[in-house]
């Protein structure tokens, strides 16, 4: 058949030629065409086809599952540390779920277990129960749930060094570092002896039993938590350890990853671990009532321990929260510490900043467990300076303030000349005010309104005069300039005098303000005369520069005052003389 010699029939040959022309040699054209369209054809029906086939005989799954598993496996193998690290919190939750599922199961089956188990231990128990003449199940009950977690170790997984240990009895914790290393070595040994593959997490030890205690071993990605337990611990304690270990990883993620043998970063983890140092004492068998009371006591103790521990963690979290709050202008947090169940904050606060509690509450921090001690300081933060300015302006209802852009503020409204000068003075007294640009061009200063009721004005003038007469400005020894401490009184004085001069102008009163400087008795008479006069002059000049009409002011130096309290003499005090109100007739005779 393969023989295609020249003697073969020529008819067949031409048919072959035609076919070759039409569809190519070996169906090449058709195949080409098909291949070209294959992607389109398949992609159009692939999902439906997969579904059809899967419903028909389930073979799709059989092909896909091993493929997916294999590639997942490969990627886990290649990045196992990374993947395990990321999955750990998730895995932790799963483990906890599994443990609680196990517990439910456990409780349901306890009775059956007690009656039917035949482990070597149960045989000993049966023997001992028989020996002491109690029912086997009673004996088991007396053995179960009677335990103490004596010591906890947190061990660095890679090096086997001890990161931290807590013990119910501090005397027993010596050599904890050796025990830790030993445990890791044993764990390495076991993992290596029983698992042929490299990354076999499940082959590592869960617990080591010795004659007198059990070591419960919980493995995390970077650290191992080992609990030395005497007696028989209830299974739910595993969950507790697991949780503590997860929290440990969460809290100390960075120091764990950067660990170079220095244990100091882990010193604070006692709070986390102490929760796990639980125990349940054997109850004396003295009647049901006592046992009930005992149980109650134990439960109470455990509950209060747990709440205490809970609060401590709660506090630690809270502290962390506070430490990471966004900075508040005018508040500088200098220290946070936990003490006696409270968080103590030490901070510096500008009086214009919101109160510390207000600040914390704004970020949702509960302040019941927070005690705050603050010292004041002057903040030069623009926001604080602005607040101070706003507070100042709010005392003048006729003024308003608006922001033009960051740090540019515009004042507008109307205000009397006297008030304006006072305002300016106060504004300029705000520390750091030069950091803001304040545009005051929109403030209008109206002429003083005329008051028709002259008598009323006269009464007002008298009232002002008497207040002015009550003002005493104190000076430091041998000083003739006004101290900063007197500024407030001085500002008040300026305000009163400008009002007085306005009123006097309106109703045409003559006013004289005596500014009387004095001194104490130390020094010569001549010197005291000069000093007292200088004090009066300085006050006068200051008033003039703040807009008080110079013609009203009569400074004089009284020299030293013969007072018992010598220091009282270092003053400037004032007195005001006002003429009777002039009537219109007086003015135009």
């Amino acid at each position: 058949m393969t023989d295609k010699g020249p003697t073969s029939a020529p008819v067949d040959d031409s048919l072959d030629k035609i076919r070759e022309l039409l569809i190519g040699r070996d169906d090449k054209y058709i195949e080409d065409k098909l291949n070209r369209n294959a992607k389109g054809v398949v992609s159009g029906v692939v999902s439906e086809a997969l579904l059809d086939r899967e419903t028909k005989d389930g073979s799709v799954n059989k092909v896909l599952v091993p493929l997916v598993e294999k590639s997942l496996h490969r990627s886990i193998e290649a990045n196992s540390d990374k993947i395990v690290g990321t999955l750990y919190p998730l895995v932790g939750t799963l483990v906890r779920k599994a443990v609680s599922a196990f517990l439910v199961d456990f409780v349901e089956k306890t009775n059956a277990l007690i009656e039917h188990s035949l482990s070597p231990k149960s045989i000993t128990w049966r023997f001992k129960a028989w020996q002491s003449g109690v029912r086997y199940s009673d004996y088991v009950a007396s053995q179960v749930y009677q335990y103490q977690v004596q010591q906890l170790f947190v061990i660095h997984r890679e090096t086997g060094t001890l990161l931290h240990t807590v013990s119910s009895d501090p005397q027993k914790s010596k050599d904890a570092d050796l025990i830790s290393s030993m445990l890791v070595a044993i764990n390495d040994f076991v993992a290596d002896a029983f698992s042929p593959s490299k990354a076999a997490y499940d082959n590592e030890l869960g617990e080591i039993k010795t004659d007198d205690f059990t070591l419960l071993i919980n493995l995390g990605p970077q650290a191992i938590l080992v609990a030395a337990v005497i007696g028989s611990a209830p299974p739910e304690i595993r969950g507790k350890f697991q949780l503590a270990l997860e929290e440990f990883h969460q809290f100390y993620q960075k120091p764990l990853l950067e660990y170079k043998g220095d244990n100091r970063p882990f010193e604070g983890c006692g709070t986390l671990l102490n929760d796990c140092l639980v125990s349940e004492k054997k109850e004396a068998k003295q009647g049901k009532k006592k046992r009930l009371a005992g149980t109650l006591l134990v439960v109470l103790a455990i509950v209060s321990l747990l709440t205490l521990a809970f609060f401590r963690i709660e506090l630690a979290l809270l502290q962390n929260n506070i430490d990471t709050l966004p900075p508040e202008p005018g508040i500088v947090l200098s220290r946070t510490e936990i003490n006696n169940g409270k968080i103590h904050l030490r901070l510096l606060r500008d009086p214009a900043a919101p109160s510390a509690r207000e600040w914390l509450r704004r970020y949702g921090v509960e302040t019941d467990d927070v005690s705050i001690s603050e010292s004041s300081f002057v903040s030069l933060h623009n926001a604080v300076i602005e607040t101070k300015l706003l507070n100042l302006i709010s005392a003048y209802p006729s003024l308003s303030i608006a922001r033009e852009e960051a740090n540019n503020l515009r004042l507008s409204g109307s205000i009397s000349a006297a008030q304006y000068s006072l305002l300016l003075q106060k504004v300029n007294a705000i520390p750091g005010i030069s950091q803001l640009n304040i545009n005051a061009n929109n403030i209008t200063i109206p002429p003083v309104a005329t008051d028709n009721s002259a008598t009323l004005s006269a009464a007002l003038a008298k009232q002002i005069a008497s207040e002015v007469s009550g003002i005493t400005l104190n000076f430091k020894k041998n000083q003739n300039t006004l101290a900063v401490s007197e500024m407030e009184k001085f500002n008040r004085l300026t305000l009163l005098l400008t009002q007085l001069q306005d009123v006097a102008h309106q109703i045409n009163l003559s006013v004289a303000v005596f500014i009387m400087g004095a001194s104490d008795r130390s020094g010569t008479t001549a010197k005291n005369k000069t000093l007292s006069r200088a004090r009066a002059d300085n006050v006068k000049n200051l008033l003039v520069s703040n807009g008080v009409d110079e013609s009203l002011l009569l400074p004089m130096g009284l020299g030293s005052l013969p007072l018992n309290e010598n220091a009282m003499g270092r003053t400037v005090f004032l007195n005001v003389l006002i003429s009777e109100a002039k009537t219109t007739e007086d003015k135009n005779p």
Binding site: T161, L178, M182, A185, D188, F189, K260
Partner: protein, 163 residues
């Protein structure tokens, strides 16, 4: 305090256990030695006023044929390969061990210890040959676990490196 893990490797009988014993006085985990092949001891040193605690892992049962569990080297700050200057073979085995360790942990400093200096040298290696081999290590120290010669120095050198 800083804790540093240091592994002690070498063929059987070269004096690893004796070195640790000489250094720390008193061996902790005697009973595990045979079971899992590791003995661990600790010793605290002071380096320039900083306390360092060395956790010394004495790995038993390593020889040319048996190999060792490289997991035990995990996290070690340094390891020591001990050989015995009365046995020529121990140097070859020591070099094998070094290359096995290097295979898993190429960057960990390795110290070369020639032990039993209280006995006359009875191996066929010349001083030059030993020095040549020492070049694959971080440093060479000759000790006697029996007289205690250089033992203290060995560990304080390691503590210094470990910082």
């Amino acid at each position: 305090m800083n804790q540093k893990k240091v592994c002690i490797l070498g063929p059987t009988g070269v004096g690893k256990t004796s070195l640790v014993k000489q250094f720390v006085e008193g061996i902790f985990s005697e009973k595990y030695q045979t079971t899992i092949g590791v003995k661990i001891d600790k010793k605290q040193l002071s380096q320039n006023g900083n306390d360092v605690q060395l956790l010394l892992w004495d790995l038993e049962g390593i020889d040319r044929y048996c190999g060792f569990n490289p997991r035990y080297l995990r996290g070690a700050t340094a390891y020591i390969v001990v050989v015995d200057q009365t046995r020529s073979q121990s140097l070859l085995e020591g070099l094998d061990i070094l290359s096995m360790a290097r295979e898993h942990y190429p960057d960990t400093p390795a110290f070369f210890v020639v032990n039993k200096t209280d006995l006359p040298t009875s191996w066929h290696w010349s001083e030059e040959e030993v020095n040549e081999h020492a070049k694959s290590f971080t440093s060479l120290i000759k000790t006697s676990a029996k007289t205690g010669d250089n033992v203290e120095d060995l560990f304080s050198t390691i503590a210094f490196w470990a910082q």
